[in-house]
Symmetry: none
Subunit: 243 residues, 2 copies
DNA sequence: GCACGCCGTCCGCGTTTCGTAAGGACTTCC
DNA sequence: GGAAGTCCTTACGAAACGCGGACGGCGTGC
């Protein structure tokens, strides 16, 4: 029936807790729920990790040695938009209120059911995902070519190109990496998302793409062949107005 | 984050509780916090009101006469994407878990601090608002189309369109994001509020909507098909590329 | 109770797109 | 100049996709 196989596209969770036991339990449950979990045992470590490898969500213990949990929360918030779930020992109202005021997105009080925590994480992520799904990538330009991933439109010299899905993605990838040589295998991985497959597939699609964007497909100027390696996209005229 | 002066652009809250005392207290606090509050005392009433005038958030008591709170939650969720905060008497884990599983975004256990409730509401709203990026409170226009989320009326060339609930929401979403290509999955999430489900549902509703707004439904001009991707709404009555 | 409207699902069909195979053309290197 | 390796071109079958039509369930209003 319906495809339930659309769970979390591997969300990265950062668990911040100084208690090794709690951390282990939480990590275990989250990993079993197919999340990629990272662990930090104190505030400084948490901020460092969050800065390096931006997590999709942070599970943060309120009681931490050194930096207070609230302070960590504040600084995380300042560093960028990231959903935060607070973890506290007491169900004290004061804590909850301050936690929410500082900007935590949710709150779980110990002792908590791991099942509940997982659900909360999933819930907050779902909500957050709905927000950030809009890829903030602008339209790509090179020479007289234009590719807009958002509208999924591509133009050459102002005229709209009728590209298929694969052709569009391929061209977009080329525009994202101008001047770089890409092996067929790499293209297959980045554009198709496959780790194996007939590499001639790439060849054929490059040819079809050339037929649509090149002035003279027999003598390609935009998508050049790098012998023994693969292809390289070279931005067309209009840029190199050198005399 | 001391932005007390960036309140809510008048969010509409629907409070569902059969206990007059609780309802009054909650309503009072929320109104003092500058929310526009509506009240329903039972499940059926709640569903009706939510259907007519879509609230920005629902505060829902778990214990209700007639329709169960969980059932109401389920149906609200089925009717469209709306944030829900559950109100439960016991801090029983079972309740919390089932509440979250059904799709509540948050819950508050009685006895609760009104201040906390307000903060929760604000928090969930903030999250949700980040999602819907810029509340489109005004009436939307594109070409000879007009969609007013407030009154839930839509017109084309001055003539009122008889749209169903889903059709209206779908069209409104399209008008909010003109030119953008949306995958079926994304539409299902943003318009239906579901994370999974048969994607052909989207296809069918697009077809029905086309039948009502397109000049020639067989050759759609407004809601275009993006092969292998989804759909794109293209405003403009007379094809921008003229002469 | 009955008819109607809305909604979600399913089925068959025509079309588009994709992946692969096979032969020819070109480059490189000896 | 020739051989081996690499790339181009073409063609074709199959799969994927979107569309229209229709059905049954559910809730609502008559």
């Amino acid at each position: 029936m319906s495809e339930h196989s659309v769970p979390h596209p591997v969300a990265r969770i950062l668990v911040v807790d100084d208690d090794p036991t709690v951390a282990e339990v939480v990590t275990g449950y989250l990993e079993r729920a197919r999340f990629a979990v990272e662990h930090a045992s104190d505030g400084v470590d948490a901020l460092r990790r969050a800065g390096e490898r931006r997590p999709d969500l942070v599970v943060l213990d309120l009681m931490l040695p050194g930096l207070d949990g609230l302070e960590v929360c504040r600084r995380l918030r300042a560093a960028g938009p990231v959903p935060i779930i607070m973890l506290t020992a007491r169900s004290d109202e004061e804590d909850r209120v301050t936690g929410l005021e500082v900007g935590a997105d949710d709150y779980v009080t110990k002792p908590f059911s791991p099942r509940e925590l997982v659900l909360r994480v999933a819930s907050v992520l779902r909500r957050d995902r709905a927000a950030t799904t809009a890829a903030p990538r602008g339209t790509l330009r090179a020479g007289d070519l234009t590719v807009d991933p958002e509208t999924r439109r591509a133009t050459r010299a102002g005229r709209e190109l009728a590209l298929t899905l694969r052709e569009f993605d391929l061209l977009a990838y080329f525009l994202e990496h101008p001047g770089t040589a890409h092996g067929r295998e790499a293209l297959m991985r980045r554009v198709w998302g496959w780790d194996f497959g007939d590499l001639s597939t790439v060849t054929v699609h490059v040819r079809r793409l050339r037929a649509k964007i090149e002035e003279d497909p027999a003598r390609p100027a935009l998508i050049q062949t790098v012998w023994g390696v693969g292809y390289r996209f070279e931005p067309g005229p209009g840029q190199e107005a050198l005399g």
